[in-house]
Amino acid sequence: MSALRELYQEMIVDHSKRPRNFGVLSDANHTKEGFNPLCGDRLTVYLQEHNHVIDKVKFEGCGCAISVASASLMTEVLQGKTQAEADAVFNDFIQLVTKGHDASLEERLGKLAVFAGVVEFPVRVKCATLPWHTFKAALQDDPQSVSTE
């Protein structure tokens, strides 16, 4: 598969066109906006968390296919995870898109491994990681604004 096809896999294109868990989560108890000033991507992540368990995740915003698909798949994967589990997925995902994949990483990440192609496109790493950094900041109620620049 060409590097480009690896990047724009069917699942990524599908999630970018039909993002899951898209919209406002009215009973969220954590909310954070993230921004990628380079390309203007902007998204808001909504979380409902109780006793360190993430019950619901939703997002809204606009961005490129990579960032929207990343946000969409993230919301699917994080639903029901404990905070510690979510942290582990966060670390694995960042490693996948910045350093590349190995078999064990791919197994742990499940369908998120579809983002393995991003590592070949260094300028697109920020697109894939923006939702994740925004999620992390939301969970920690980080008062700093999230920017991938």
Partner: protein
Amino acid sequence: MTDLISQKINKVDIVALRNEFPLLQQTMRGKPLIYLDNSATSQKPQCVIDSITHYYSHDNANIHRGVYELSERATRQYEDSRVAIQQFIYAEHAHEIIFVRGATEAINLVAQSYGRSVFKSKGEIIISAMEHHSNIVPWQMICEEMGAVLKIIPMSDSGEIDLESYQKLFSPRTQFVAVTHASNALGTINPVKEMIRIAHEQGVPVLLDGAQAFPHMPVNVRDLDCDFYVFSSHKAYGPTGVGVLYAKTKWLEKMPPYQTGGDMIESVTFEKTTYNKLPFKFEAGTPNIAGVIGFGAAIAFLNKVGMENIAAHEQILLHYATEKLKTINGLKIIGSAKNKVGVVSFVLDGIHPHDIGTILDDKGIAVRAGHHCAMPVMQRFQLPATVRASFGLYNTEADIDALVIGLNEVKKVFA
């Protein structure tokens, strides 16, 4: 340079010109490189690269101070570039050409030196809705400091300035107009001569941001009657890190120095410093000597090709690209002004510009995707970003054909 352009040519021989640019001879991702991001920066002809190499190999010395032959040589070449640029833009005096790092620094110089000494509390500074951030933020900063106010000339859906609205913005408190000659995000060429005339009727000086106009058309600062004109070398086939502030002598004489240090002084004691004469008052420290000499080589190159020829060639490309891109379903061109430089900004239905940029790159095509450092322009058109193809003298209709094929490939990925 080849014989083909060693004498002034009447019609641009693009194939011969293209061969002057070594960077364009390479392949990108296995395909011939198609460079369509000339508004960001242009590629450099061999003569510019050679002039810099020659300077460092044979003539390198500090300028305006050495008593030895080498320094005299470096100084002469540096000052020759100043005269070449003076003649190129029809300035009255060579000392009206101030070397800076680029158009951005030139605007900052005027804002900090002229603005700080002249702007008053409640004074009004007029800029347009289509400015690059570099012609917004310096004015915003100095306005905040001086208590002055920014007034924005609105633009139409086609990306054109409405002269009537512009005229209405003037009041007895208007102190300055700063407007772009050509828009980097939309391509619009503004009716600057008329805008300057209107401002001068009110006794208001005008700065033109020429970064996107200077490389693409003949510029005559005396005919325009602008008070300040700024541009960068690197967008006009010269090296990075060099730009020019042109200003009328009467303003430069009144303006205090922007930066201080060596070369800009006449005498220094711990009690009192007197400043050097123009243009050196504004050129503190050792300048980018090699860059200025390289820019001089670029000006010689442009003189040989002829700015009229370049403008005519790029207009053909602009019209060809506009017609071809219109045939793509779901593609919308942003900016349809009557007068444009060779810039086509566009969006494709349902596909983000960043994805378009990545997929085109895979085909060896370099375009810009983003907000083009003109976020207010994007807000005006309610877009997060656009794709921009911008042409230079070496681009051809075949480059545009490749872009169209590439865009159809993009649509396939997202079909």
